[in-house]
Amino acid sequence: MDDYLVGVLSNIGIVSFIALSAWLLLLTGEISFGQQAFFAIGAYAAGIATALWGWPLGAALGWSAAIAGGAAVLVGVPTLRLHGLYFAIATLGFAEMVRLLFEQFHYRVMIDGELVGPNGSDGFRGIRYIFENDVGSLQFLALIYLLLAAALAGFMLLERSRLGVAFRMIGEDDTLAALNGLAVARLKILAAGLAGALAGLGGGLYAHLTTYVEPRVFDVMLGVHSLAYGLIGGLGTALGPLLGVVIDIGLLESVRAFAGYRMIVFGGLVAVLLIVRPRGLLDEALVHRIGRLFVRAPPAGP
C-alpha cells in the first residue's frame, strides 16, 4: 500500500478517537471545546513512557488512556455542574491552560548520546518506538484500527445498554432524567472520564505515529474539528463522528483542488449541515429508519 495512503488512513483512525470523545459528551448534551487537552496529555504521557522510561507500547497506551481519563474526571467534577455555553467556555479555558503548561514543561533525559524529552515550546522529538522496534507502518495502522474497532464495539454495546439510554436521556433533558432517578452528575462524570480516556488513547497513538509533538498541535483548532466531526456525521450512532472524519480528512484530502481553501470549505460544510440537518447526517431518525430495515417483521397473526 502507498505510504501516503497509509498515512492518510492512520490520520483518519487517530482523529476518530478524539472525534468519538467529543461525540460522547455531545450525547450527554455537553459541548466540549477542550478534548484536545486530553489528547495532548495522552500524547505526552505515552511518549514519555516509551521514549524516556522504556515502557512497551501497549503499557504506554494504557497509561495514556488512564492518565487522560483521570484528568477528565478531575476536570469534570467542578465543570459538569455548568451547562451549555458556560461548560463550553470552561473546557476551552482548561484546554488552553494545558497547552500553555506544556509550553513550560521541560523533562529531558540523555539517551544514547542525545537529549530526548519534552522541551517546552520546542516540542518533544524522538518518540521513535515504532522505528526502534521495527513496527511497520501497516502493522501500526492495524493496531490503530484494532483499537478503534474495540472502541466502536464498546459504543455499540453502550447503545444497547441502560447506560447508553441514561446518557441519551441526560442529553435530552437532564432535569427530567434526574426526576426519573438517574444520578446525573455521576453519569456525566463517567462520560467525561470515558471521553478523556478515548482522547488520551488517540493522543498516545498520534505521538508514536508522528514521533514528534509540540504544544501548538493541541490548540483550539483540533478541539473545534473534533466537535465538528460529530455534528457533521451525526449524533444518532457512534459511526457518525467517523463519517465526519472521513468526509474531512478522506474526501477533502483526496480532492486536492481545495488545497489551501480546505478549512473554508470545511467551515461552510459545518454551517450548511447545522442548518439543514441540526443533528448531523446520521441523526437518530435516520439511524432508526436504517435499523428497521434490518429488523424482521413480526410473524403474521392467525
Binding site: 501516503y4 516509551t50 544514547d112 454495546l157 463517567l190 498520534y206 514521533t211 484530502e253
Partner: protein, 145 residues
Amino acid sequence: MTALRLAGALAAAAACLSAGAFAQVGAQAPQAQVKMRAKADVACRPTSTALHYDCTIRLTNARTGEPLGGVTLTVGADMPSMPMMHSVRPVAAPPEPESGSYRARLALEMHGDWALQLNLSGPLRDRVVAIVRFEPGRAESRPGG
C-alpha cells in the same frame, strides 16, 4: 450499578484486547536503545514557482556525526497548528553528490510553519521531524529541528 459494571467490563475487555495486540512489540522494548538514530539539518529556499521550495537535507548519524549516505529518503509535511488536516504527499529526495546530502522539492498549500517528516528507509528505518517556517521569498529552520 449495572451501568458501572458494564463500563468496567468494557474497560477490561479493551485492556485485554490491547494487551494481546501489543504483546509482540512490547516484548521487543529492551533492545530499543541500541539502534542507530538519524539527525537532519534542513535548508530550504524558494523557487520561482509560488509555494514551491527546494530543500537540501543533510543526514548524519546522531551518535557519531558521520554523514548518512545510502538511505532512501522521502519528505512529507504537516502543519503543527492544523495537525493531520494538511498533509503534503511525500516526495522522494534523491541523493546529492556530497555524502549524506539529499534534495527535495516541496509544493506546499500555504505559508506558515510546517513539520517536515523525513522518512528514512533502506539500511536505516527512521523518521526525523524538522520544523521549518516558510514565508514568501524565504524559509527558516527552527533550531533543534
